[in-house]
Point group: C2
Chain length 395, copies 2
């Protein structure tokens, strides 16, 4: 063996989902892509807003000297200032450009944050179900993943988090609106977490950071709002991405926002800047930094996703599926009608439906439907979903 | 202490260069930026070629559905195919899109490669002087850095590499054209390294990878050519960036090219794709992938850099500086007229000249001048360089 044994093992572990994708690709070849209902990927299918397109065309044509050059590792000052102003306006907090570090999406942001916080052996708590990459991100910086279950409605279970905290706990990662459940944590949820981390921090005489992964914070329905963790808890850090807000996940643009009240604020900011550099990100893509600076109040038409959610929820409810109606993001996380979620995914595959088993999110007995797809895909899949649950009900 | 102790230590170690930059910023404020001769950064000052600008404007205006969406983790097939065709044409090797993984610049490429290769404790050999980030990149994946000195002309010292190889050696990183020396390794140099790694690999019954960091491979002078490592050594991997070739370092676009003859080729490719994902890069920036696909034969006007090199070399030679004339990249690495390179950097600072001490590259007694600056900066700095060396000669 010559390549990394650790990576090779990870590669074979994640082969279950990959194998499913491969089967999906075979289906698409066999029946045509329009006859396969692919709900497996969280790739936005709504075009970026017109404002983004206008800004891109305008900047592409402008002869800004060396506009594609390295930016400071933290990002352009003007961009960071625009982000800080937006957060300051929303939260009332005194944010300055210094508290913002531009990142290669939320994935880049989380890796930089964890690298800046963790020494080998430090523990990070994630709430189940969770975004499939968190354990990798934590391990990248030598951290140990600790799991805390959530309540049946996927809201945080404070006692479960409490039980997971040890003298080695460095951070808790939350993700609201949540992938894969679509749950939005309420102000009370956030206040409860803040209280717990404050008390435990005092008791253990250490700082426990709250890291909030918020790529879906602008994708919320029914006038739900996402409460600010910055206002609720002093030792908090946000990982944000424009991927969903502006429908440009492939461009890898996001930011880290550091709470101005965080302990050792300057040390943390310097560490984040250093980690942006030494992890090889160097800086967030330069042109995109310039573009999003002026688009702080722009977002995709969220009603489009809400309509898709409603189409899917009413269809699946009629077929007898049990689920929590998502309040944000573009995922539905229903219970599987049989306990073995991987087996149920195979049942769906027979109906040309691709979805992801809950086991992939450490939550067997559920499955994830990413409904960022054409309305017709949802509508045309409903018959298959109905037949799949019927098949499972037969004795 | 709450943030990572390891990162905090790294942060204070790299503070020497940062302090110099801060002093430089103070100088610029005091005397005006045009009165300060800043040779500290390798940020290309030549505009991207017109072909790049045309392609960007054209793509910005085109309504390609969801052109800013996630790409496959390895990158767009069309882009990888274009890169493979270019390498195939240059080397005569049978490269396919499968052998190319698009990356966030060479920094991203190197981190992905090292993550795919290393288990904790594996050793990686770097040749002194080296790009300042290598030790961080190696440590990110739990690797241990081993140093091999180079000859007085900065060409590889095969015996030094030989001595550095142990049973734990997983890879050797080379960088030609070199940062900070501008040295281009000859075909004989590469053949010697290949022979050594082949023999040592046999003896130790393991694969030793040759990782070639090649962001400057198109920036060469006097009709020098950069020999292909892919042809010379089977277990070789290239980390490439368009940063210098197309003057767009801030856009973070590059690639990994895997030798089709590498052992366990498929496992390595799968590992690289997985690592692109789990390190949080996810994919190389999407729009840039589309743009560079059609620009495989385009590069900046290298004569501009050659003229700058010649201006600087003749000026410094006349003043009495000793150096190897660079054959590529845009760095000059002269000896400092006094043994203490950090002290000499202070002498230069008094003449409003900013450069980087060789100690930053593990090579004290030298200093790096990044001459990717305006001609006038070079011309106007020469008097200061002359006075600085004179000052050191005085008893």
């Amino acid at each position: 063996m010559s390549i990394s044994r650790k990576v090779k093992a990870a590669s074979s572990q994640s082969s279950m989902i990959r194998r499913m994708f491969e089967e999906g690709a075979i289906l698409k070849k066999k029946f045509g892509a329009d006859k396969v209902y692919d709900f497996s990927l969280g790739n936005p299918n709504v075009e970026p807003p017109d404002e983004f397109k206008r800004e891109l065309i305008s900047l592409a044509g402008k002869n800004i000297p060396l506009k594609h050059g390295y930016t400071p590792n933290a990002g352009y000052y003007e961009t960071r200032q625009a982000v800080a102003a937006k957060i300051g306006k929303t939260t009332g907090l005194k944010m300055s450009a210094d508290h913002i570090i531009m990142s290669c999406g939320a994935g880049g942001a989380l890796n930089v944050i964890l690298k800046a916080l963790l020494d080998p052996g430090d523990e990070v708590i994630v709430l189940q179900p969770f975004f499939v990459e968190y354990p990798f991100y934590i391990d990248n910086s030598g951290g140990i993943v600790k799991y805390a279950s959530t309540k049946s409605d996927f809201s945080p279970d404070i006692e479960a988090i409490d039980r997971a905290i040890t003298g080695k706990t460095k951070a808790v990662i939350i993700n609201s609106p949540n992938n894969p459940t679509g749950k939005v944590y309420s102000a009370v949820n956030i206040a409860d977490i803040a209280l717990l981390l404050t008390e435990k921090g005092k008791k253990l005489n250490k700082t426990i950071y709250l890291v909030s992964d918020e790529p879906y914070s602008e994708i919320v329905y029914d006038n739900v709002t996402v409460p600010s963790i910055l206002k609720a808890y002093k030792n908090s850090i946000i990982a944000y991405s424009y991927s969903k807000t502006l429908s440009l996940p492939g461009e890898r643009i996001g930011y880290i926002a550091v709470n101005p009240t965080v302990e050792e604020c300057n040390d943390l900011i310097n560490a984040l800047i250093l980690c942006t550099r030494i992890l090889g990100y160097v800086n967030a893509p330069s042109l995109m930094q310039r573009i999003i600076a002026g688009l702080q109040d722009v977002k995709v038409d969220v009603d489009v996703y809400q309509r898709k959610r409603d189409l899917l929820c009413s269809g699946l409810a009629a077929a007898g599926y049990k689920f929590e109606k998502p309040e944000g993001a573009f995922y539905l996380f229903p219970q599987t009608p049989i306990p073995d979620d991987v087996e149920f995914i195979r049942v769906l595959l027979k109906r040309n439906i691709l979805a992801v088993p809950g086991s992939g999110f450490n939550c067997p007995g559920y499955f994830r439907i990413a409904y960022c797809v054409d309305d017709s895909t949802i509508i045309n899949s409903l018959d298959g979903f109905a037949k799949a649950i019927d098949e499972c009900r037969q004795p």
